[in-house]
């Protein structure tokens, strides 16, 4: 099953490589990983998307908790949560396609953030599947480049991950 795990860790050099190293050395899957400092600059917040059986996910959260620099771990998929991912996509946009692509971007609530004679760069946020759907929809034209951040997640309502 797919799980989205959030964690807070000390914002120290090397902390990220400990997490990445843990996943590779223990053979856990990792679909995406995003990390940045929080409003408290001593802490980083990481969102990890992984897949595995319940047993494996249990080990993953235990092993993450065991890392000395990790302060807190929560499996967001255990409750209501929101996920967002950002994608920048550059597509070939010439002739009639220009209108069509713009309309499509509007439908997906994307924004065109860079324009040339031959291309658009579109910014889009949403769940992973929404971004997939947009990529699918763009397939008729030529996709020149895509870049995605991987999912970030947060609990709904009063569910808060804080020290």
């Amino acid at each position: 099953m797919r799980h989205i795990i959030s964690l807070l860790m000390e914002n120290e050099a090397g902390a990220l490589s400990r997490v990445a190293g843990l996943f590779s050395s223990r053979g856990y899957n990792i679909e995406s990983l995003t990390v940045a400092a929080t409003e408290d600059s001593t802490l980083s917040r990481m969102t990890l998307v992984t897949t595995g059986s319940d047993d494996v996910i249990e080990q993953i959260t235990k092993q993450l908790n065991k890392l000395i620099e990790v302060v807190k771990v929560v499996d967001l998929s255990e409750g209501n949560h929101i996920e967002r991912e950002l994608m920048l996509i550059k597509v070939r946009a010439v002739d009639n396609d220009r209108e069509e692509i713009k309309r499509m971007a509007d439908i997906f609530r994307g924004r065109i953030i860079d324009v040339t004679d031959k291309s658009y760069t579109i910014e889009l946020t949403g769940t992973g599947s929404k971004l997939d759907a947009f990529v699918e929809a763009m397939n008729r034209t030529t996709i020149l480049e895509t870049v995605r951040t991987g999912a970030s997640g947060i609990g709904r309502g009063e569910r808060i991950l804080k020290v």
């Binding site: 860790m9 000390e10 490589s17 050395s25 065991k66 302060v71 020290v163």
Partner: protein, 585 residues
């Protein structure tokens, strides 16, 4: 509002501060070691640690033991820690010093041994430039340490070392490495050693959950075929006495893992022997067929329970006490997990059991013991005592007798290790020192050096094989320098016996590369290092030779026992098989 004592305190602090000159990173490091009460440090010098060595030279509180290879420095620190409940400390230089140390670090990591390893690093400005003797020490050691640090700023050095000692010795212990670039060991700052440290990200659970402990008590009282299975956690937690109290109170059978030997007295009737791949028939059968299993500081290793599918038994309830949540339900699902320190949890468990005043049904317990005794009658550890060639088992048995069961025994890895575990009856914890998790050949001799350093005057014997001993044989020189009167018991079967045994059982007797050809003359070798060498070829000479060796109080004696080449370790649970599917003699 005026508070004279308060003001006096501050003044005191101020004068101290103004008086205290700035210290170099190297001075600070040595001061930290002194503050931690470190008496011995095992190491090997090199360019990146020259300032540190200079400071060690200028003082005499911390004694440096010069080994002959960095792997041995870490193994020695490890043996020191295992046999004394102190933190072992090693010091190595950058680059090859560190890579040599890695085997030792991984060995300690797998067996959860508290060590602090200090390594030199190239100067901060040279890091990343492929400088001379540069390796990414933090990167290389990351998967085999509990934690590691690269200190880039001398003002953080003291607090980092404090953290290293704290992390290494608390929770599930383990090795912690502190990498100190050469320029940091030269830079100056004021020194203040923090008394205590708290870390928001690291707070091991000590006391078990009260509700879970209650559940455990209930299960224990209802048990009909109980079994207590204990491991290294009992030793690490200094809980042997507590465990013994509990086992006796309940009259339950008790087994130990290889790492747990000495946690319960091996000569006691309730002890059913070691379990696992080379465990006793009775221990493995009881483990497989029990209905309530109390696992204490043991991690259901693959060498212990064999195939987990075969081990699974829907009628068996498992209680698991461990300080590391990730040890629980890793290979085997448990019913009552208790995260906590063994000695604290056992305390609580005993208290509750005494309060309840009930006892498990004694007649079903008697029936269970009758069953266990019938398994015992199988006499699974028997061997040919009349053999004309020396049987390795007999050497260990005689060693036990000659030392009154009171020696520290280290071992290497192989058949000799298993015979040592099976035939030396450990009644006390921290007496059996071996590499279980990593299975590191070469561990025996250097770890024995550490044991002897920590326990001057004690009998220390290293049971080894002719292949293993050659992996750190250079340490005979260290032993000479520091007058370490170890007794080396070389069970010389001219084979990598453990490998040969697998080839005999599972690879059609094709002994690929497991023959030890061109062996040295160990007697002459020992003599050339300035020690005493003995070769023993007759079973009738075993006891007299051992007596003589232990009479040579100040001397290291290398005893080369020429043993039966074809002897195998029994019982054996073949890889992938279930615990009750043992090959027996």
């Amino acid at each position: 509002m005026f508070n004279p004592t308060y003001i006096a305190d501050i003044q005191h602090l101020e004068t101290q501060e103004s008086m205290s000159a700035e210290l170099t990173g190297a001075e600070i490091t040595v001061r930290c070691l002194q503050e931690e009460g470190v008496e011995h440090i095992f190491g090997y010098p090199g360019g990146a640690v020259l300032f540190l060595y200079d400071e060690l030279f200028k003082q005499d509180k911390v004694r440096h033991i010069l080994v002959r290879h960095e792997q041995a420095a870490v193994h020695a620190a490890d043996g020191y820690a295992r046999s004394s409940n102190k933190i072992g400390v090693a010091l190595v230089t950058s680059g090859p010093g560190v890579t040599n140390a890695v085997t030792g670090i991984a060995t300690a990591y797998m067996d959860s041994i508290p060590l602090v390893i200090i390594s030199g690093q190239v100067p901060t400005h040279a890091i990343g430039l492929d400088a001379f003797q540069e390796v990414d020490t933090v990167g290389i050691t990351r998967p085999c340490v509990k934690h590691n640090f690269l200190v880039k700023d001398v003002t953080e050095l003291a607090a980092t070392i404090k953290k290293a000692f704290y992390i290494a010795s608390t929770g599930r212990p383990g090795p912690v490495l502190v990498d100190i670039p050469k320029d940091v060991s030269q830079q100056k700052t004021k020194f203040a050693y923090p008394e205590r440290i708290t870390m928001r990200s690291y707070n091991p659970n000590i006391r078990g959950h009260a509700g879970q402990i209650k559940k455990a008590v209930q299960l224990i009282l209802e048990a009909r075929r109980p079994m207590i299975y204990t491991g290294g956690g009992v030793i690490l937690s200094n809980a042997a006495a507590r465990l013994t109290e509990l086992v006796r109170l309940l009259r339950f059978p008790c087994t130990n893992t290889l790492m747990g030997l000495g946690g319960y007295p091996a000569t006691d009737r309730q002890f059913v022997g070691m379990l696992g791949m080379h465990g006793t028939y009775e221990a493995n059968m009881a483990m497989q067929h029990c209905d309530v299993l109390v696992a204490v500081g043991a991690r259901f290793d693959d060498r212990v329970i064999g195939n987990p599918k075969h081990f699974y038994n829907p009628d068996r309830k498992i209680i698991h006490i461990d300080i590391d949540p990730s040890s629980i339900s890793k290979r085997v699902k448990v019913d009552v997990p208790i995260v906590g320190n063994v000695s604290d949890v056992l305390d609580e468990l005993i208290k509750l059991l005494e309060l309840r005043k009930e006892k498990p049904d004694q007649s079903t317990l008697d029936a269970w013991w009758a069953q266990i005794d019938s398994w015992r009658e199988r006499d699974c550890l028997r061997y040919d005592r009349t053999s004309a060639i020396i049987k390795p088992q007999m050497v260990v048995e005689t060693l036990y007798k000659v030392t009154n069961g009171d020696a520290f025994i280290t071992s290497d890895v192989g058949q000799h290790q298993m015979w040592a575990a099976q035939f030396y009856k450990f009644d006390q914890p921290r007496r059996w020192i071996n590499s279980g998790g990593l299975g590191t050949m070469g561990f025996g001799l250097p770890s024995a050096m550490g044991v002897q350093m920590a326990n001057p005057g004690a009998h220390v014997a290293c049971i080894t094989g002719e292949a293993s001993i050659q992996m750190c044989i250079q340490e005979l020189s260290t032993c000479k320098q520091y007058h370490l009167p170890l007794k080396i018991i070389n069970l010389n079967n001219r084979y990598m016996g453990m490998v040969r045994q697998w080839q005999e059982f599972f690879h059609g007797n094709r002994y690929a590369e497991s023959y030890m050809d061109a062996l040295p003359d160990f007697v002459k070798l020992a003599e050339s290092y300035g020690h005493v060498g003995m070769r023993i070829e007759q079973p009738g000479d075993i006891e007299a030779a051992l007596q003589e060796a232990f009479k040579l109080k100040g001397r290291l004696v290398f005893m080369d026992f020429v043993t039966d080449q074809t002897e195998n370790v029994f019982p054996m649970v073949p890889g992938g098989k279930g615990l009750s599917e043992m090959i027996l003699v």
